[in-house]
């Protein structure tokens, strides 16, 4: 037999149940080509379940047609028709209200923002902290040797410890305060203006040494001792006045009023030439008093005098 190409294709094309069901909708709405349409028609004639499937499809379509013709709630449609402009106007009004609020709140918000930014950038509390603050001005004339300032110093917002200013101080006196909380130098400087330069007191001790050689040693040294006592002299060393260091040498270590030094010199010169010499000494005597070490030795003896430095203050 001789078949045309279409007939050969139809004979090769085998419609299955699955394919038929998948193509039912297109078959129903007429979207299939002739070959597939004829194949489905052949298939439907032979298969009952496929015909039932087509019936279901048709009933569904009828149901959808019914649903599409359902009258909607009139109030819904009418509300939608009537309120077309209402919602827009409501939205516009609400947006207008929001805009008005924004414009009303804009100045204070901008002001607050500017203030905050200014505070953050400038940090005025730092300027206050770095500025030197004159807390106390001390007049040197009326200043006691030790002047405690028992005033809690408030710098910025911090309470600092009490400081003491001790006299004498170099002029101008600058006291650096350290922040006890942060532990780093927040150099708060206190300038103490002083009217005069401080007078440095002469704190220097002195010792007078004297030597005399006498002819009658045994009779003279007690006279000298008595004269010293008479002039207000007091024993200063650890030995008594006129201690006989050797049989022909006596030792006097005493303090004497400075005003009587000349009288003592004159008294000693009656026994022979006397020589006074002043030496610097660490011991400071009270004002108006001097300390003397006097060595009296026998003039007949030829023994050398023991150096005073070796016999200082027995």
């Amino acid at each position: 037999m001789d078949f045309s190409p279409i007939e050969r294709h139809i004979k090769r094309f085998r419609m299955t149940r699955f394919l038929c069901h998948e193509l039912l909708y297109d078959f129903h709405i007429g979207r299939l080509d002739d070959l597939r349409r004829r194949a489905i028609e052949e298939h439907l004639k032979e298969h009952h379940d496929s015909r039932q499937e087509l019936e279901r499809l048709k009933s569904a379509l009828s149901y959808c047609e019914l649903l599409s013709s359902v009258g909607l709630e009139n109030d819904l449609v009418e509300a939608l028709c009537e309120s077309r402009g209402t919602l827009e106007s409501t939205l516009w009004k609400s947006s207008q209200a929001v805009r008005e609020k924004i414009w009303r709140l804009m100045p204070p918000v901008l002001l607050a923002t500017a203030l905050t930014l200014g505070l953050v950038v400038v940090k005025p509390w730092r300027l206050l902290r770095d500025q030197p603050t004159t807390i106390a001005q001390i007049n040197k004339k009326t200043l006691n040797p030790v002047v405690p300032i028992d005033v809690p110093l408030t710098v910025g917002l911090r309470q600092l410890d009490v400081i003491s200013v001790v006299n004498p101080m170099p002029s101008p006196m600058i006291v650096s305060l350290f922040n006890p909380i942060e532990g780093k130098s927040k150099s708060q400087e206190i300038k103490v203006a002083q009217d005069e330069k401080p007078q440095k007191p002469v704190v220097q001790g002195a010792l007078w040494r004297a030597n005399i050689s006498v002819v009658n040693f045994s009779a003279t040294w007690p006279l000298i001792r008595d004269k010293i006592v008479e002039l207000g002299g007091h024993v200063a060393g650890s030995v008594e006045l006129g201690w006989l260091r050797r049989p022909n040498q006596s030792y006097f270590h005493f303090s004497l009023p400075e005003s009587n030094q000349e009288a003592l010199r004159e008294f000693l010169s009656t026994f022979g030439p006397v020589r006074f010499s002043k030496q610097i000494h660490p011991r400071v005597m009270p004002e108006g008093k001097i300390r003397i070490i006097l060595t009296v030795k026998d003039d007949l003896s030829n023994e050398p005098t023991i150096p005073d430095s070796e016999t200082d203050s027995p």
Partner: protein, 136 residues
């Protein structure tokens, strides 16, 4: 012109299960947005579909209220509700847009970004499943 859109969107809301209040809000929003885009004309029906879908998604995110007691007593919606709640949403959507709202396959395919064949496939599948609910 606006009335056709209103009817379409109202029907879409009804058969998507929104209650009366939500339907009203969605419809109003859809119409306003379409008007702003100047898409209320018949040449822009695929834009309508996009807008309906967008509003339905918004309502879903908000937690939409499904199937409140409506008074459409002329038709029994039991089968449709069962179909809506159990079948793939893309097939429900295809049936709704194609067979109930009357959009063409081309319009639907433009709006959903799929081919016309896919639209027909989804519609056919959906209809067969809907027919199954009707036969019981």
């Amino acid at each position: 012109m606006d009335k056709k859109v209103i009817e379409k969107v109202a029907r879409f809301c009804v058969f998507s299960g929104f209650d009366h209040g939500l339907s009203q809000v969605i419809s109003q929003k859809a119409i306003i947005r379409l008007r702003r885009r100047e898409a209320l004309s018949m040449q822009n029906r695929s834009e309508w579909i996009k807008e309906f879908k967008h509003q339905a998604q918004v309502a879903d995110r908000l937690g939409r209220k499904k199937w409140s007691d409506r008074s459409e007593s002329s038709v029994d919606l039991t089968s449709w509700k069962a179909f809506f709640n159990s079948v793939d949403p893309v097939e429900v959507e295809a049936v709704l847009l194609s067979q109930i709202l009357g959009f063409s396959d081309l319009e639907i395919s433009d709006a959903l970004g799929v081919s016309e064949g896919t639209v027909r496939y989804r519609t056919g599948h959906g209809l067969r499943k809907l027919g199954g609910f009707l036969s019981y």
